[in-house]
Amino acid sequence: MKDFIIPQFPPGSDPQDERDMGTPARSGAPVSLSIDGFAVTVPEGTSVMRAAAEAGIMVPKLCASDNMEAFGSCRLCVVEIEGRKGTPASCTTPVAEGMVVHTQSGKVKRIRKGVMELYISDHPLDCLTCAANGDCELQDAAGQVGLRDVRYAPGQNHFDPSGSGARSQAEARLRMPVDQANPRYVPKDESNPYFTFDPSKCIVCSRCVRACEEVQGTFALTIEGRGFDSKVSAGAATDDFLHSECVSCGACVQACPTATLQEKSVIEMGTPHRSVITTCAYCGVGCSFKAELNGDQLVRMVPYKHGKANRGHSCVKGRFAYGYANHRDRILKPMIRDRIDEPWREVEWDEALAFAAGRMSALQQKYGRRSIGVITSSRCTNEETYLVQKLARAVFLNNNTDTCARVCHSPTGYGLGKTFGTSAGTQDFDSVEKADVVMIIGANPTDGHPVFASRLKKRLRQGARLIVVDPRRTDIVRSPHVEAAYHLPLRPGTNVAVVTAMAHVIVTEGLVDEAFIRERCDWDEFQHYAEFVSQDRHSPETMQPLTGVPAADLRAAARLYATGGNGAIYYGLGVTEHSQGSTTVMGIANLAMLTGNVGREGVGVNPLRGQNNVQGSCDMGSFPHELPGYRHVKLPDVRKIFETAWGVEIDPEPGLRIPNMLDAAVEGTFKGLYCQGEDILQSDPDTHHVAAGLKAMECVIVHDLFLNETANYAHVFLPGSSFLEKEGTFTNAERRINRVRRVMAPLNGFEDWEVTQALANAMGANWTYTHASQIMDEIAATTPTFEGVSFALLEEKGSVQWPCNEAAPEGTPTMHVDHFVSGKGHFIVTEYLPTDEKSGPRFPLLLTTGRILSQYNVGAQTRRTANVVWHPEDVLEIHPHDAETRGVNQGDWVRLASRSGETTLRATLTDRVAPGVVYTTFHHPATQANVVTTDFSDWATNCPEYKVTAVQVSPSNGPSDWQECYNEQAERARRILPAAE
């Protein structure tokens, strides 16, 4: 007897077992039935098709897939059910108690063969030369039903371009090499850079259309026409895939049972024959993928069905934009130079490491122990990050370690640490499926975290309500079948005022969850906070002139969040990258505690992390004031743990943060930097100041895949390895520790942690790690929240969410269930304090910066892929009113100037931004939006205020002086001398 199957996992423990069960899993009361004589028990609501699959009986199918609802169109999955008339489709027929099903009766076999014969009568017989040969469900189904002949004479069809009765396209070309003699034949659409659409192979099963709707939520595809004229269409008849609303997530390609939608890489390289499960190196969603290969040649990345963050979905970056790993720009040989105005000189690893170690040691001898430091990377693994901060603490003997989280989510660490007691989001991504009200503050998930956005949109289509707090009308505000109940388009820089006004409404209208607060929070602090927010000066009406948010909308949104059921907050860099970033994070935590929206599924406070391992890099002690596990360096008992493990004395004083390093460099007390996997010249604010800081250093070591912008100021370049070339772990925004597996050998010869170890040893350390797993073992031995984590556990469980220890051996999907990590939750007063960055006559507009779907961060990876087809340059979004008063037209070059600097870029006119606000991205070094951003930063953490810069926009004829000088300097700095013979 087959018993219950855990819904999220198919039978079998083999992680490679990705059998398509036909229809989605259900949860419900057990129902027992008989299928082909086997007794099966499944949850109520399960389809007969899935019940059969649970019993190991795979009913032939074409239009069904277990990641979308049953459709019942292909009629291949018909079965006979005793006591019922006809031959129902097993995909659309739910099980019933005592049901007796026959999947292989003579009648259904005859029907299936007939159906299949009809399908094949309008399908080219080019199997041997088809890109999907061996990976085609149509081919499999034909074999499964025993199709041996097609009796229909050649007639009207969609596959024969010649219209001459050819049975294959190859034959058609021989007979008549001129296409389109057959009016029904539509040539292949090759416009998308990553996949082709060949309508001649389409069986109109609608799986692509349904995947686009149900999985991705974009609704870009449709079935056009009726009957024999039915065909898949990407939007209007004049649209090809590239110019349609398709976002190239790959869900349709994944769903297609034939070669109609096919990866170009498979067409070019053939079907892959082995796969390795690993984790995406892009955003903080941390999707699991199967890297599919021939030998060591990566053929494609396919979203892993059992990945707990992405549940089998992907976006254009993770699915397709991996070509940078083999890009010709990759530097594979170490390089050194004495001065940054010299060309690079390729050397062997030993020479490069000796050069770097010698310089760094000499700097410490000359300028003191604290004169050098490191920057860890959120694009690198936990193990690599851990070793880099260990290099600072155990070899440099100082705490000058920081990470790019400084410039994105450091306020999250501070704010959630102060209120909840730990520096992380509270939920897993599955939680959104139980949310009733979702409030998105300062995040643009459809661009920045697209796979989470798809899951969110699915929940919204099911009826959850949405509140968006954002100066821009982001796509999530209104998209097909999704519309925010409230969009609060606040003025940049007024987050605290808006969040506090929401708290005002909740408190003064009696919407607080007093029982939760009394049990879970510090009551005295709550009373003080309640008194604070209740003051009239915090009311939406008083705040409206300041925030620009209509008071009625704000009140309604606050009421909805407080009373609409499970309320979940998701926020991003639009919250943190402000002078009051940490205060807003605390304000958000206050809202969740006020309404009891903490400690269970469907609620919580969820920072959407920008990069794949922001959470992990923070967990690993990258910040200069705390050791791994968010424990301050001033604590002797914590230092003792690491002093015992590392055999050194740890500096009890906090080190320099990135902006402080640059300040100290300019004033001459910080002289050397090891920068792994970051490009601070492009990503950090006030580029002039960053450049001045780097230029003032005497030894800059860049460890990266490419000669990035920072490397223009470097003396040592150590080639890095891509995520495909290393072992390790990433920790995503839901605290999920996921394995990164070595798919191919490092092109440079070493994984990044090996290079850091070699540098440490060249400076006198004696590290002896031989595998990344040993580094994780050390992390587990020294960090309580990682106590139970090991590579062995991750192999067994797939992934776990920290804390993972004796109390939670399988990890912790939801935090703060019974009590906050800090014991009681802490309400903190959030007074609105305006930023010093103010618009005025000279700079009357406010610039806010952000990201776009197809590009990632500084673009170092995505700019080296075909993703540039969607976003070849940064553009400035400006409201038509502001454009008109400046004489700016669509597509014009404009000068964007602030008190920090100026750049030029093209303008696009849109009412997506409000009058007075302009917006751009920072993906392209040719633009360098950060030339314009200022050195203002969050009061608590120094996180830069990227989101508010006073600017002026005016027509321009061409590049700014800075851009011209920069291009010249960059070209000069990248010269490489050939290696000595």
């Binding site: 604290r370 705490n399 000058n400 003080h528 002078s579 205060t583 200069p624 004031h625 301050h632 001033k634 004083e653 906090p654 080190g655 320099l656 943060r657 402080n660 300040d663 100290a664 300019v666 004033e667 007390t669 903190i828 007063v829 007074e831 304090l833 010093d836 050195d935 203002f936 930063s937 009061w939 608590a940 953490t941 120094n942």
Partner: protein, 68 residues
């Protein structure tokens, strides 16, 4: 860092803790001790010794606590 930048940063910290219940000086001092690297704190103390122009009184009080 430039004195102007240091004053802005220190005053931002004071501005937050000035809004919190109780005496802000110990909280500002604790924040500076926890997050400012020694040479930054030294620069602050030197600046105060040179007059401390433009600093929030809570910063000056915090600096005194750090000296004690």
């Amino acid at each position: 860092m430039s004195p102007e930048k240091m004053v802005v940063m220190a005053n931002q910290i004071a501005a937050f803790f000035n809004t919190q219940p109780g005496d802000p000086a110990p909280k500002v001092a604790a924040h500076l001790a926890d997050f400012w690297e020694p040479r930054m704190r030294t620069q602050l103390q030197d600046y105060i010794r040179a007059g401390g122009a433009g600093l929030d009184p809570s910063v000056e009080a915090a600096a005194r606590l750090l000296r004690d």
